[in-house]
Homo-oligomer: 142 residues x 2
DNA sequence: TAAAATTAGTTGAATATTCAACTAATTTGT
DNA sequence: ACAAATTAGTTGAATATTCAACTAATTTTA
């Protein structure tokens, strides 16, 4: 890797490579999910019926982005939405049975890629790296 | 930031935020460049006449991606291409006069955003973080 | 040297990102 | 109560990402 490359470029490259690896792993197992879709199902797996807005925040998507992502997942019949009866601006998002099934198949693959990603790193390195990235994030947020 | 969030998600978020900041800074100064286009001009500023393929490698784009990026820059008349007379498969890429001018305006803004990004980090942190990211990259490359 | 493999680049499709304009529902301020 | 502001979500446009199919030029190899 080039010495002068900015840290942000190294980060961008790393996250792109991670995404490629996970996409590949899922596709190798004939799972019709992108890594972003997969991340969304993982969040829904933790707790269903969450508001679309809350999912967007958790997944760091803007509101346009989450709309498109959920549309892809709906098209594949992995999720469905209900209006929140109390505040009709909100949509509550649920996994379908098919969504539960695909998530169950995807989870160990996500874990495999995560393990590959962190292979040979000790906890101290991981924690310190997170701390630096979080400092950078707070520098970049207003 | 959520404790359980994977390191790769933190990286993705960080590089997205960086890109947003730079896009914003450029647009605030009425510079018609995205952060990716800007990065491309910066590379060309170091050395012109480079092969498209070489630029792609340096910028971590695939060949489809670099084609589209260079097309955007051509449309704005910031670059032009010549066929390599020795190996006609290659295209050599150059900055136009307009490209040189916009690069000159953009450079200090890139430097501002870089400084903002790294504000409060010491060199040791930056170097260690790069090392961790490079380990992750080598884990993810085959 | 002719066929096969490789390399550089283009294009199109699907997804992803970012932003701005828009609608609809709810909350706030007076 | 009602106008104004806010909030959730959709849509469309431009850019960006990833991959696969394709062309054209060059190199390998048998």
């Amino acid at each position: 890797m080039e010495k002068g490359m900015p840290l942000t470029a190294v980060m961008a490259r790393t996250s792109r490579l991670y995404r490629i690896r996970l996409n590949q792993k899922l596709s190798d197992h004939n799972i019709d999910l992108s890594s972003e879709m997969c991340g969304t199902l993982l969040e829904l797996g933790k707790k269903e019926g969450r508001h679309q807005k809350e999912l967007a925040t958790t997944l760091f998507k803007d509101k346009g982005g989450i709309t498109k992502l959920l549309k892809s997942l709906s098209k594949r019949a992995f999720i469905f939405a209900k209006a929140d009866e109390i505040d009709k601006r909100h949509k509550k998002i649920y996994l379908t049975e098919k969504g539960h099934q695909v998530l169950k198949k995807a989870m160990p693959l996500v874990e495999e890629v995560r393990a590959q990603t962190l292979n040979g790193l000790d906890n101290v390195e991981i924690i310190q790296t997170r701390e630096v990235l979080e400092k950078v994030i707070s520098n970049l947020i207003e």
